[in-house]
């Protein structure tokens, strides 16, 4: 039975209805411009939604994290955690878009699509049935295909949208095929029943279970940007408007991990504990390829896109050692939270550069520290946080992830190698982040200061306070991530 006072239902009613109404208001008002009017409506909606979730968490109205439920949606802290992450990213994107969308056409449609995509992302995190998961997954993806190609007159935006769409549609097709096999061998589409069915499979059926899990890794891996499913990602992030790249890198990618935790990690654990080794291998490949390719890039957006591939690898460390270490998933969730803010801030700083300098090529950012001081400080702090420099927030989550990998070494011999790979990759990433910082402050002639977009200054100030604040005092956020960690014990479900 659906409880109409549960968090996800109220969020659907709030964000969904405003998202649907924005284009209608646009038609009634018969205007084409006024970005700030529609942006303000979207911003207020998102802030109200975030406040509502925070209220629900603080008044303990949210159930403890349950991966499984008999309903299609479950109102638990795991979902609420991801909903908070998504809403923070959506708020950063909308505020950044006030400047970016000025003088662009169709602002109402733009903000409406951002709202619809955010409600899709939130529902993915709450869903406990494969039907709901697929519907929410598509509600998240389809608006972002349009948003990536929103600059219709710009060839690279167009090309990015087509590449993103073709790979996104392929990933959906793979997910549907995986679901069909999972349904065929377990007889249910409820995630809990599928996982329990996996755990009690007939030995002759186990290969099919592995095939279904592999298809899920491929399907969800496209959105998460795991190697070898990452080839569309740099093109899409570079060509799309930078504000939308922030939404993709910080939002849709993180939500992929929510789906991965519910389906892939639980599926591999149910089939055979040893198979999380495969996730470890993908983690190492992903972070190495991402960071090595980032060094060679000449474009700031593209470099950040490769760096976000690398970070997907770090997050996957926690998922692959989940059954062996108690803080693995907590570290992953904390890094998801941090990376969402860091990468969101970095891409919105890129949006400011794209607005004022009309290019994001690395040669153009020489002397940026004197031209756009506030944007530069925001970009520098987020790059250092991405590299994991203490005392910024990225340091703590990386410490938790690598620490949990070493911790798990007492159970499985391969786990410490994940930590070694992670530390080496962090050092590597500091090289190209340092190169950007060097170009911004120590190269170029005496440039004059230019006017910076106001709304982006607001985003920069907020995210710098956020990153430094969590870095100095991380405890409450680590605990918040800890409350969202679900129990991985499948055997307790088998014996009711």
């Amino acid at each position: 039975m659906i409880d109409f006072t549960s968090t996800p239902i109220i969020l659907i009613a709030l964000i969904g209805s405003v998202g649907m109404l924005l284009p209608v208001i646009n038609i009634i008002r018969k205007d084409r411009g006024s970005t700030s009017f529609y942006g303000a409506i979207a911003l207020v909606t998102l802030i109200v939604a975030a406040g509502f979730i925070a209220y629900q968490i603080f008044t303990d109205n949210v159930a403890s994290p349950a991966i499984f439920s008999e309903d299609v949606l479950v109102d638990d802290t795991f979902g609420s955690f991801f909903a908070i992450v998504v809403l923070i990213v959506a708020i950063l994107t909308v505020v950044g878009s006030f400047s970016y969308m000025r003088n662009q056409s169709y602002p109402a449609v733009y903000f409406s699509l951002i709202l619809l995509s955010s409600i899709g992302m939130i529902l993915v995190a709450y869903s406990t049935d494969l039907v709901m998961l697929l519907v929410a997954w598509e509600l998240m993806s389809i608006p972002t295909y349009v948003l990536a190609g929103f600059m219709k007159k710009n060839p690279s935006s167009n090309e990015a949208a087509i590449k993103y769409f073709l790979f996104g549609a392929l990933s959906t097709a793979i997910i549907v095929y995986g679901i069909s096999i999972a349904y065929g061998i377990t007889g249910s589409t409820n995630i809990g029943e599928v996982i329990v069915g996996f755990a009690s499979l007939d030995a002759s059926m186990v290969p099919l279970g592995l095939l279904a899990t592999a298809l899920f890794i491929a399907g969800f891996g496209f959105k998460m940007g795991l190697v070898p499913f990452h080839m569309w990602l740099p093109d899409a992030y570079e060509g799309a408007p930078p504000t939308i790249a922030a939404l993709l890198a910080a939002g849709t990618k993180k939500v992929g991990f929510a789906a991965a935790l519910r389906v892939i990690v639980m599926g591999t654990i149910a089939l055979n504990l040893e198979w999380t080794f495969a996730l470890g291998i993908i983690a190492i490949m992903t972070m190495t390829v991402g960071n090595l390719a980032a060094i060679m890039q000449k474009n700031l957006s593209r470099m950040l896109a490769y760096s976000s591939i690398g970070h997907a690898g770090y997050i996957l460390i926690g998922l692959s050692i989940a059954p062996f270490s108690s803080i693995g998933i907590q570290g992953s969730l904390f890094h998801i939270f941090n990376h969402a803010v860091m990468k969101g801030a970095a891409f919105i700083a890129v949006a400011a550069i794209a607005i004022t300098l009309a290019s994001t090529h690395l040669d153009k950012i020489k002397g940026l520290g004197r031209r756009m001081p506030i944007t530069s400080i925001g970009l520098v702090v987020s790059l250092l946080a991405l590299a994991g420099v203490p005392p910024l927030n990225g340091f703590w989550s990386k410490l938790m992830l690598f620490g949990s990998a070493i911790d798990a070494g007492s159970v499985v011999a391969w786990a410490p190698y994940l930590a070694v790979a992670g530390v080496l990759n962090s050092a590597l990433s500091l090289a190209y982040y340092g190169w950007i910082i060097r170009k911004m402050y120590f190269e170029g002639e005496d440039e004059k200061r230019v006017k910076e977009p106001k709304s982006i200054i607001a985003v920069m100030i907020f995210s710098v306070i956020f990153m430094v604040g969590i870095g100095v005092y991380p405890d409450p956020f680590i605990q918040f991530a800890g409350t969202a960690v679900p129990s991985l014990n499948i055997s307790s479900m088998l014996s009711p």
Binding site: Y145, V146, A173
Partner: protein, 101 residues
């Protein structure tokens, strides 16, 4: 005529193979889109066939959702392809190479 599960699954696997062949060989955006649709339909056939033999209605319900979603996706995809055609007068994805790194 026998009427067994394995026959439906074989047809579905054949459709999957056709879809993968199309994706790896063709370079026309619309052909790629249709190859993806063939894969989705292979999965739908699987779902309906499994639903008949398990037996419960969840598979058919899922197939209906999946068909509706695929329709929405194709609508957006064709829109994007039309915009690209207006710009390039061509929908060969091998010609889309302004983004390289």
């Amino acid at each position: 005529m026998s009427n067994e599960l394995i026959e439906f699954v074989l047809v579905s696997v054949a459709l999957l193979a056709i879809g993968i062949y199309g994706l790896s060989v063709k370079r026309n955006a619309i052909r790629l889109l249709f190859s993806i649709e063939i894969i989705v339909n292979a999965a739908n056939l699987n779902l309906v066939a499994f639903g008949r033999f398990i037996p419960n209605s969840a598979g058919q319900t899922f197939a209906l959702f999946s068909i509706a979603i695929a329709a929405a996706e194709v609508a957006v995809g064709l829109g994007l392809i039309i915009v690209a055609y207006r710009m390039y007068k061509n929908i060969d994805i091998a010609d889309f190479k302004s983004l390289k790194g």
